[in-house]
């Protein structure tokens, strides 16, 4: 029996070689289906890995508290914020006031955003100072008009000069540049290099913005982040008396949300691509039916010579499986090619999904069996005399 399957396989290969164009057109549906499933899943997981690595670079022990309150009662004062750092599980707290400003230096102008914050911001958010120094406790105490420039801002304003220790104009006020921040690179959340940092007290006084909207909190230990978040939720809920006035999130939450979104999206797109596999299967069935009719006489000869129903059935089933299997392999090749191409275009690392390849190859073989079954059954059921009489 295995012997006869091998014969059927050789026969099918020969049939495909002699009808090359027809076979490729027949396989096209499967090729496109498998190719798009492999591409979508691979590009999807590549993008997911990229996003994950971006979010993980935030740091797993960073907790972000957003305050939405408009009045004094539903926000926290600077001292209340700083007092949080005495709590269990919390290492450092960096409250932040933010808004948009125009920075001018040496005739150049740049629109950017500012953050008013404290001396711990650098270590909480992982910002490094390339030259100069960070905001000090002294700057905060006296509300000094000093500023640190992000890499993008430096590049926009500097004109090749070193801006450290020079004076820049922020809105209408003169600020001294005490430091230049090192490049953080682009991330999917915001542009971390397109900003300036100033003491929080300066922001309150000079920018007239007294509402702390965001607290960046560094927890002691990544393993106890969830316990710390729960404790923070309780504290803030008690203090603000409004559960809707704040939200506490952490990197892991963002990550899991994004993962869910990208998984759903990939699954959805793959399901659409799989429809093309089904359509490909119908194409295979169509051509197999044509082939059975064309080869009616051949079937008659084979039956007269001693082929059993099962031999004829297996011959046509193997043929449709070979068609769909070769289609699947070509599809995988095209999927790999497209994945590498797209990954290069959007500059992520290609993440070829072996399981998607195996799955879609298996799926196309199943399509071959399912859609080859009816034509093969018809062939095997032909009566030998009628088949021999067929012209």
């Amino acid at each position: 029996m295995i012997h006869s399957h091998f014969q059927s396989f050789r026969l099918a290969m020969r049939g495909i070689r002699t009808n090359r164009l027809r076979s490729i057109l027949t396989m096209l549906g499967v090729i496109i289906g498998v190719g798009s499933v492999v591409t979508l899943v691979s590009v999807g997981s590549g993008v997911k890995e990229y996003i994950s690595s971006q979010i993980e670079s935030i740091g797993s022990n960073l907790i972000i508290v957003s305050l939405r309150g408009r009045t004094g009662a539903t926000t926290l004062s600077l001292n209340e914020c700083l007092a949080l750092s005495d709590r269990n599980g919390i290492d450092k707290v960096a409250p932040s006031i933010s808004g948009d400003v125009t920075v001018k230096a040496d005739g150049n102008k740049h629109e950017t955003s500012y953050e008013g914050t404290t001396e711990d911001y650098g270590s909480v958010r992982n910002y490094k100072v390339e030259s100069g120094r960070f905001i000090s406790a002294f700057d905060i105490e006296y509300g000094q008009k000093v500023v640190l420039l992000g890499k993008t801002v430096t590049d926009e304003l500097s004109n090749g000069k070193n801006l450290l220790n020079t004076i820049v104009k922020i809105n209408v006020y003169n600020f001294k540049v005490i430091g230049l921040l090192a490049e953080k690179g682009t991330t999917i959340i915001g542009a971390p290099d397109d900003k300036i940092l100033m003491p929080i007290t300066t922001a309150e006084r000079v920018m007239g913005n007294k509402t702390i909207r965001t607290l960046f909190i560094k927890s002691d230990n990544p393993d106890t982040v969830h316990a710390t978040i729960q404790a923070l939720n309780r504290t803030l809920s008690k203090k603000l008396r409004d559960d809707n006035a704040f939200s506490v999130i952490n990197q892991q939450d963002i990550l899991s949300t994004l993962n869910t979104v990208s998984r759903t999206l990939t699954l959805f797109l793959s399901a659409i691509a799989s429809i093309s596999l089904l359509v490909g299967g119908i194409g295979i069935m169509n051509i197999m039916l044509v082939s059975v009719t064309e080869r009616t006489r051949e079937i008659g000869i084979r039956k007269a010579i001693g082929a059993k129903r099962a031999n004829i059935l297996s011959q046509f089933l193997v043929e449709s499986m070979v068609l769909s299997g070769i289609g699947g392999l070509l599809g995988i090749g095209i999927g790999i090619f497209c994945t590498v191409l797209i990954a290069r275009l959007i500059s992520i690392d290609p993440s070829l999904s072996i399981s998607a390849m195996l799955f879609s190859l298996l799926f196309s073989l199943v399509v071959g069996v399912v859609f080859g079954m009816y034509p093969a059954y018809r062939a095997s059921n032909l009566s030998p005399i009628e088949a021999l009489r067929f012209e």
């Binding site: 012997h3 014969q7 049939g15 084979r302 039956k303 007269a304 010579i305 001693g306 059993k308 021999l388």
Partner: protein, 221 residues
């Protein structure tokens, strides 16, 4: 016991309300090693008889024993097996597979018998040698003359050492020279012990046989 024994066999085709008796109460015995010609005009029922003798079709009434097996009791798979082992077919239109070369065509019955590749090749080559076509073994049917194609078909018919060779107008599509050669091969096979049943409408060809059975209107005369 004879190799082939047919008793009171009838085959009736029904088309709507019209009944056509293709074979009407036919009885026939053929012994092992005989060379029998069945002769009759077209529409006489000889092709129907050939199909039944070849286990390609069943009868409406009567019994058919082939080598002591009651053919009417066999299922589809057993019929395929008996065709494979007991019978070799030679058709008027050769009926070779066009995608295959000569030796592959000859190998075909052995494939369905499960003969291993090497053995199959050896047997097929020997069969082709007997019909004088070993130097054409890699040619496709379209590259062979009609006579050569029929000789390939003869090789295919006897490669598996069947008991009966059924030839249906084997020279019908051939010129007289090729026809003679094909007939010579068939006669040679008969002399080596194979039972031959030849169906023809040509009494010249039928004269080569030891026994001539005339059939007309579904009855043996």
């Amino acid at each position: 016991m004879p190799l082939i024994e047919i008793t009171n066999l009838s085959k009736i085709y029904k088309t709507g309300s019209i009944e056509v008796k293709a074979l009407d109460d036919v009885s026939l015995c053929i012994d092992k090693g005989e060379f029998v010609a069945i002769i009759g005009p077209s529409g006489s029922g000889k092709s129907t008889l050939m199909n039944i003798l070849g286990c390609l079709d069943g009868q409406t009434k009567g019994d058919y024993y082939l080598n002591q097996t009651k053919v009417s009791t066999l299922n589809d798979n057993q019929l395929a097996e008996i065709r494979n082992v007991e019978i070799g077919f030679i058709f008027q239109g050769f009926n070779l597979l066009h995608a295959f070369n000569a030796i592959e065509n000859v190998e075909l019955p052995l494939i369905y018998r499960g003969v291993p590749t090497q053995e199959r090749h050896r047997m097929s080559l020997k069969a082709l040698q007997l019909v004088g076509l070993e130097d054409r073994m890699l040619h496709k049917p379209s590259e062979l003359s009609g006579g050569q194609q029929q000789r390939v078909a003869i090789a295919r018919a006897f490669v598996g050492n069947p008991n009966v060779l059924l030839a249906d107008e084997p020279t019908g599509n051939l010129d007289s020279q090729s026809g003679k050669e094909v007939l010579r091969h068939i006669t040679d096979l008969n002399q080596s012990g194979v039972t031959v049943i030849l169906i023809t409408h040509d009494s010249n060809i039928a004269s080569k046989a030891n026994r001539i059975i005339r059939i007309e209107d579904g009855k043996i005369q």
